[in-house]
């Protein structure tokens, strides 16, 4: 086994022979004769020069005639692994490997919000400034009136990225028109949806973008104070924000008289304790005030009467991250991206049964198929796509028949789902949709603040009905009750949490009703997930009686003599599936 091969290429046979001999002599001298093999190959050059190619690296040296040159190559490249730059063939400084393209994963995306994430050092304000950072703030403060800023955002068509999709410019306009001398800017960084993590990534990768945008928003509506409400579960995001705010203050980009425009703006961080309901705007503002995080009826909307009773603009992290570039590049540029009613891009957090788990940013209107198969790398293990859950516990599922629908706010609502904050959980044929709905319900039952009876009690009952179905004890009447209760909860809850909590149930009922019916009528879980509806059995003809399953079974439910077919005691079996997973002969099946 040779570590390296040296290929000698030339036209003059006598010269080649001399080089090979010299090389072999040098290899012995450096004790490399057992590691490196010298071979003669066909001619690469038109002239009478000699080339050496060293594999596996593929390094090509040119015009190597002369003992000194060979000595250098052997002693430095072959012995020490250092390339002899002065002898490299022309164009070899850039080897093929280094010309390799950027990953398709990045190329197929369109990055506005994640422009700097993964490129700059988030703890260095200088790097942000070098990427046109704070230029937008400078432009707004020195060249635009607050009204012009609001107009620009309105014209861009930017809609709130937190889920609802309310036009950002309109929100700013309401607050701008109020003549209350005290106003506030708040940033919602209380990202609570299971499976969503784009706000965290923006804060960790590009915190200055959010700070700059909040200052611009402050200028636009006439606010001098801002709060970033971020969950305490994101310690790194918090620490990077703290560093970024301190740097911005040091540079005079926050504080008094920014850019000599007479505009003052200051920012503070507020930590949330991780209650899901605090992602709802009125509950979030109440929490910033220092009270228990409970929602309030709307109207009055926060833009009219918000934090401490003053007009407040509350936007999501991703919404803010769009602002500096809209100001810098203009509304027309932003307008050119996306669909008719949904402009710009959307960041999705891909999770679940997908090859590549992570963040993608695509223009609005990109199809789910493109996101999953072109960017996300498809479903692992060649499984079939079943559905994608958007918007976490407030959203719904998108079944396979809508893979080609352009994803924007209105289209997703049209098919009974919603954009939500951007969590995209991909499910394949092994996921039970009833079980999935139950999972999200369990989450909302846990997170309901308890204020409204419909949400506090209704969701609990809904969860119990779902459990009945997955246990195989439900009747068809229960299915009707389930649906009725869903609408009741939606109609009688105050805030977004309760109003949207039944969405996962309703959308799975809409597209996967047959799975519900299979659970109720046939007492079967088609995906083989719900434990009460499945049994594990040994196929006697396949079983060799090796005893592996018997040893592994944590409850001793498997019986049988060695070399004879084993049996599973159904009363003892806890359906962990370990035996099926470990059986080498595929003799255990799930029914």
């Amino acid at each position: 086994m040779y570590r390296s091969h040296v290929l000698v290429s030339g036209n003059e046979e006598s010269v080649i022979k001399k080089i090979v001999a010299d090389l072999n002599e040098l290899l012995v001298k450096h004790r490399l004769q057992n590691d490196v093999k010298v071979l003669v190959t066909y001619s690469l050059n038109d002239d009478d020069k000699i080339s050496l190619i060293i594999y596996p690296e593929g390094t090509q040296y040119y015009d190597v005639e002369g003992y000194d040159k060979l000595e250098k190559i052997v002693s430095r490249h072959l012995a020490e692994g250092v390339i002899v730059k002065e002898l490299l063939a022309k164009g070899e400084e850039k080897t093929d490997e280094q010309k390799e393209s950027e990953s398709e994963f990045i190329n197929r995306q369109f990055r506005v919000v994640l422009k700097n994430s993964g490129i700059i050092d988030p703890e260095s304000i200088d790097e942000y400034i070098a990427q046109d950072g704070y230029q937008a703030l400078g432009k707004a403060l020195t060249q635009m009136t607050p009204e012009q800023v609001v107009e620009e955002i309105k014209a861009s068509g930017l809609r709130g990225r937190g889920g609802g999709g309310f036009p950002t410019g309109k929100k700013w306009e309401f607050a701008c028109k109020s003549d209350d001398p005290i106003k506030y800017i708040c940033c919602n960084a209380d990202e609570g949806d299971p499976g969503a993590f784009m706000d965290r990534s923006v804060l960790e990768g590009d915190p200055h973008a959010v700070i700059e945008a909040m200052a611009i928003a402050g200028y636009a509506i006439g606010a001098h104070k801002g709060y970033i409400y971020v969950r305490a579960e994101y310690p790194r995001a918090v620490s990077r924000l703290e560093i970024a705010i301190a740097q911005a203050k040091e540079y005079g980009l926050l504080g008094k008289n920014i850019f000599d425009s007479g505009f003052d703006f200051d920012l503070e961080i507020r930590l949330g304790a991780g209650a899901f309901v605090c992602g709802e705007e009125t509950a979030l503002l109440t929490s910033i005030e220092g009270n228990r995080g409970e929602p309030h009826p709307k109207p009055p909307f926060p833009a009219v009467k918000g934090l401490f009773g003053h007009p407040t603009v509350l936007n999501n992290v991703e919404t803010f991250a769009n602002i500096p570039q809209i100001i810098l590049k203009g509304a027309d540029w932003f307008n050119s991206i996306g669909t008719e009613k949904s402009k710009g891009t959307k960041v999705f957090a891909l999770g679940g049964k997908i090859e590549h788990v992570g963040l993608v940013e695509v223009p609005m209107g990109t199809t789910l198929r493109k996101v999953i198969y072109k960017i996300g790398g498809g479903i692992p293990n060649g499984k079939k796509f079943k559905a994608a859950q958007t918007g976490g516990p407030s959203g719904g599922c998108i079944p396979a028949e809508y893979l080609d629908i352009p994803m924007d706010y209105d289209n997703l609502i049209g098919i009974g789902s919603m954009m939500g904050s951007g969590g995209l959980i991909i499910m394949d044929e092994d996921n039970c949709m009833v079980d999935m709905a139950k999972f999200f319900l369990e989450f909302t039952v846990d997170e309901s603040c308890g204020m409204c009876t419909a949400c506090r009690v209704g969701n609990k009952r809904l969860y119990e009905l779902l459990t009945k179905i997955t246990d195989g004890e439900a009747t068809m009447e229960d299915l009707d009750k389930l649906e009725e209760l869903c609408y009741y909860i939606k109609d009688n809850s105050l805030c977004g949490l309760g109003q949207s909590a039944p969405n996962p149930v309703l959308s799975t009922l809409k597209y996967f009703r047959d799975e519900y019916i299979a659970h109720i009528k046939d007492k079967k879980c088609p995906a083989g997930v719900c434990k009460n509806l499945i049994t594990f059995e040994v196929l006697p003809d396949e079983c060799t009686g090796c005893g592996v399953c018997k040893k592994l079974c944590p409850v001793g439910a498997i019986k049988g003599e060695a070399t004879e077919a084993h049996r599973i005691d159904k009363d003892k079996c806890i359906k962990c599936g370990l035996c099926m997973e470990k059986c080498k002969y595929n003799a255990i099946v799930k029914r």
Partner: protein, 126 residues
């Protein structure tokens, strides 16, 4: 900050310094993804290994720097090597051992460690 000109002066200064270094072929940048996803996957020891290796070899022209999430969360820890006037190379699933090899082969010798790169991923080849 008193004016846009002042901000631009800072920007120009940083960009000029960068350009000078690139002109001289001096600065090689090694970026480590240090968002929560990267750190959970073990980016801290990778970063330490990179910095130790750079120090050990007295590589004055190499800057090891942290950065945010580039989006490939399940291929973290991710290390990107930027050599002036060359395309960026992205390494995935980096361990401290791989980090040392990347410094040795790529940063010192200019040979990309192909088997660790993102383009070596299955779904990228299809």
């Amino acid at each position: 900050m008193k004016s846009l000109a002042e901000l631009n002066a800072i920007k120009e200064k940083i960009l000029k310094e960068k350009a000078e270094k690139i002109d001289k072929g001096e600065e090689i940048k090694v970026l480590v993804g240090m968002a929560t996803c990267g750190i959970m996957a073990g980016a801290m020891p990778v970063m330490t290994a990179l910095m130790q290796e750079v120090e050990k070899r007295h590589l004055k022209n190499v800057v090891v720097s942290q950065t945010g999430c580039i989006g490939l969360c399940n291929y973290e820890p991710i290390v990107e090597v930027l050599v002036p006037n060359m395309p960026k190379v992205t390494y995935i699933d980096v361990t401290p051992e791989k980090a040392v090899k990347i410094i040795n082969d790529h940063v010192v010798n200019g040979q990309v460690v192909k088997e660790f790169t993102i383009d070596n991923m299955r779904w990228n080849k299809e």
